[in-house]
């Protein structure tokens, strides 16, 4: 209804268009470092002021601050003992007043003050007669009566670092990661013998495999990011890993050599690295769920991992189809892709942390993105027809489908 009133600037003669003159730098002669640091100093002063006198009245809340405790892990290091690892990821200090196990108050010991400052960690030891094979729930009662509950899905003795468990978890990693990758490498003679058209097909298939792996790792990282204590911003970690890794890898490529294009061996190395990082995350997850009794690594599961990860080896050797790589290089490539599974299983079994798992998975995603990009470039140099030929598209889809089908054998 109302019409817009366009303000008309007074045509004042005293306002004359000034002649263009060199802009005088503000701050005059102050040194450059001062100009750079002055805002930071001011910021620091403000922070100190806030810490000393507290924020201005408007921010004061009449209700108690939101308490946030994250139970990162519950270990069962011995019969009749529980160890709860917690971190305060909330905005304020939290006081743990009491502990309940399975709805019963229980005595316990905190390794430090009961007042847990922001980002501080504690381990609570509880002499509780947990029952093998049964679930348990531990609740921490804070000063204000809030409860934070963590669950033991299936109670079983947590592994401690000794030869037996190192061996067990090494074997776990070898089965799930190392053996499959090396078996996959044995396809090299095959891909070397097939025609150019079929190499393109298998390269497409490799891209398909990797895209699926990347998506899988992304989902995993987002899932575990939800377990990360609030202040550590799990989702932001994912973003950091996913975007940061390909950027770092690209920058490293520029820095290492002047050549713009990578050699097929370098591409294979990158693929192995990407798969290795993914497998590190996978190893962490397998180790952790094995240690907490959430999965029992039965025959079926081992076969699942074997099939699922064997295709990763194929992905590594395909770019080398028309190369003559030395055995040493092949072993190194296989180790780069497979051995991180063992390391992951070790770490995950003993010190599972949602934070590190999230980070490793997201770095894996980033690495795979970088690898797919490199493969795509390698591919487009080789096949003028590109990815969209019926055969290559079929390869791409088949790669994803193989991963999907073998993934059916592995629990989510």
């Amino acid at each position: 209804m109302s019409e817009l009133q366009v303000p008309v600037l007074p045509q004042n003669s005293s306002v004359h268009p000034s002649a263009p003159r060199a802009p005088e730098p503000r701050g005059g002669r102050l040194p450059l470092w001062f100009k750079g640091f002055a805002p930071l100093v001011l910021l620091a002063a403000l922070v100190v002021l806030f810490l000393k006198v507290g924020p201005v009245g408007v921010f004061r809340q009449s209700f108690p601050p939101v308490e946030q405790l994250t139970i990162e892990r519950i270990r069962l290091p011995a019969l009749g003992v529980m160890e709860v690892q917690i971190v305060n990821g909330g905005p304020e200090a939290v006081t743990v007043a009491q502990v309940m196990v399975d709805d019963a108050n229980w005595v316990h010991r905190v390794n430090g003050s009961r007042i847990i400052e922001r980002l501080e960690r504690r381990t609570i030891t509880i002499p509780y007669p947990w029952v093998e094979g049964e679930p348990h729930a531990v609740s921490l009662v804070t000063r204000t009566g809030l409860t934070f509950t963590g669950e033991v899905a299936v109670a079983t003795l947590s592994p401690s670092v000794d030869t037996r468990y190192l061996t067990t978890f090494a074997l776990l990693g070898v089965y799930a990661g190392v053996i499959p990758v090396f078996i996959g490498l044995l396809w090299l003679p095959f891909v070397s013998a097939i025609g150019r058209k079929w190499i393109d097909f298998f390269l497409s298939l490799t891209i398909g495999l990797l895209v699926f792996l990347g998506a899988d790792a992304l989902v995993e990282s987002l899932e575990t990011s939800r377990l990360v204590a609030g202040a550590f911003q799990g989702e932001a970690l994912v973003l950091l890993g996913v975007l940061g890794t390909p950027l770092v890898l690209a920058a490293l490529g520029r820095w290492r050599g002047t050549r713009q294009e990578r050699t097929p061996l370098q591409v294979a190395g990158l693929i192995a690295l990407g798969i290795g990082l993914h497998n590190l995350g996978e190893g962490l997850a397998i180790g952790a769920s094995y240690a907490t009794g959430e999965i029992a690594l039965g025959t079926f599961l081992v076969i699942g991992f074997l099939l699922h990860n064997t295709t990763e080896g194929l992905g590594i050797v395909t770019p080398l189809a028309d190369q003559r790589p030395r055995l040493r290089s092949l072993v190194l490539l296989g180790a780069l892709a497979g051995v991180p599974t063992v390391i992951g299983a070790w770490l995950g079994g003993f010190t599972y942390s949602p934070l590190w798992t999230t980070l490793f998975f997201s770095i894996g995603v980033g690495a795979i993105i970088a690898v797919v990009y490199e493969l795509y470039r390698l591919f487009s140099r080789r096949a003028s027809a590109g990815l969209t030929t019926p055969l290559n598209t079929a390869g791409l889809l088949l790669g994803m489908m193989i991963m999907y089908a073998t993934g059916l054998l592995v629990p989510a």
């Binding site: 009749g80 108050n105 005595v107 509780y128 009662v141 000063r143 009566g145």
Partner: protein, 342 residues
Amino acid sequence: MARKRDLVDQSMTRRNLLKAGALGTVGAAAAGTVLALPGLGQSPGNQAGQASHHDMMTVGHLSPGSFDPNAFLTHFDAGIVSELPSGQVLRDYEFIAEDREIEVAPGVFYPAWTYNGQVPGPTIRCTEGDRIRVRFINRGSHSHSIHFHGMHPSNMDGAFEPVHPGQSFVYEFNAEPFGLHLYHCHTVPIKRHIHKGLYGAFIVDPKAGRPPAQEMVMVMNGFDTNFDNENEVYAVNTVAFHYQKYPIRIRQGELVRVYVVNVTEFDLLNSFHIHGNLFRLYRTGTDLTRYEWTDVVALCQGERAVLEFTYNHPGPFMFHAHQSEFAELGWSGVFLVEAPHV
């Protein structure tokens, strides 16, 4: 298991009973474990290697100056007594509703609504036929009332006349019938007004009195500290495990009378069980003939009972809810029966 008979081992026995079959061999393992964790036990009477008795327990102590359940146990408020021209005894009380943070387990604080700053409110003690006059002042942040159980005129019932913050009201009625009653806030939402702490025991003695005894009042209550409509803390007289940490001393061969009132919110029933003995049960205390001779009584919210018993054996005896969950979340205590001094 032949063990030294002391409080330590009694608690162990109780724990075994409560955990029933679940413990078994694992319990033994736990006992061994505690050995490896010196300093876990909280009790000063803790003996090295015998620490497992204290496993199922809150840790730490109440802050100095908190509500003392041991004092509350035997404190009966007779009011300010005077005589009306008719000869009737008049008892004057002043009840002030106020918001207060109370400690329901060591280190766990609950934002309560209280009568006179305490949960449960003062135990009113009078004799049948007395005139009761309660001046109620609401200094809380919400409207409240006092609804007494017993017989009284409609306008003294506290159900339809909420007393708004800053206002006051005088409840006046004759105490009848004799028995064990209770009072509580009847302002809506009632569930919250009760579980936040507005309740107490109201004892009306028969004119001829009851036989002399060591008397105590136990209000079975619970606290939903995280407001999920389930209690995190159970107790008699508010503080979880208090009478287990500080046993109630009673004398061997002497009559003990416990006035038990259940005000527990959210749960359908609460119960009272004593070890090593049976009690004579007087439901609601309105009859002087024994209703039953038993060792467990279940009471729904608002139900109450007078229990009488005499211990003939000295030593510590557990008393607790026979809902194991309630017992494990704080509703457990110990009677320490002391042999008469020679």
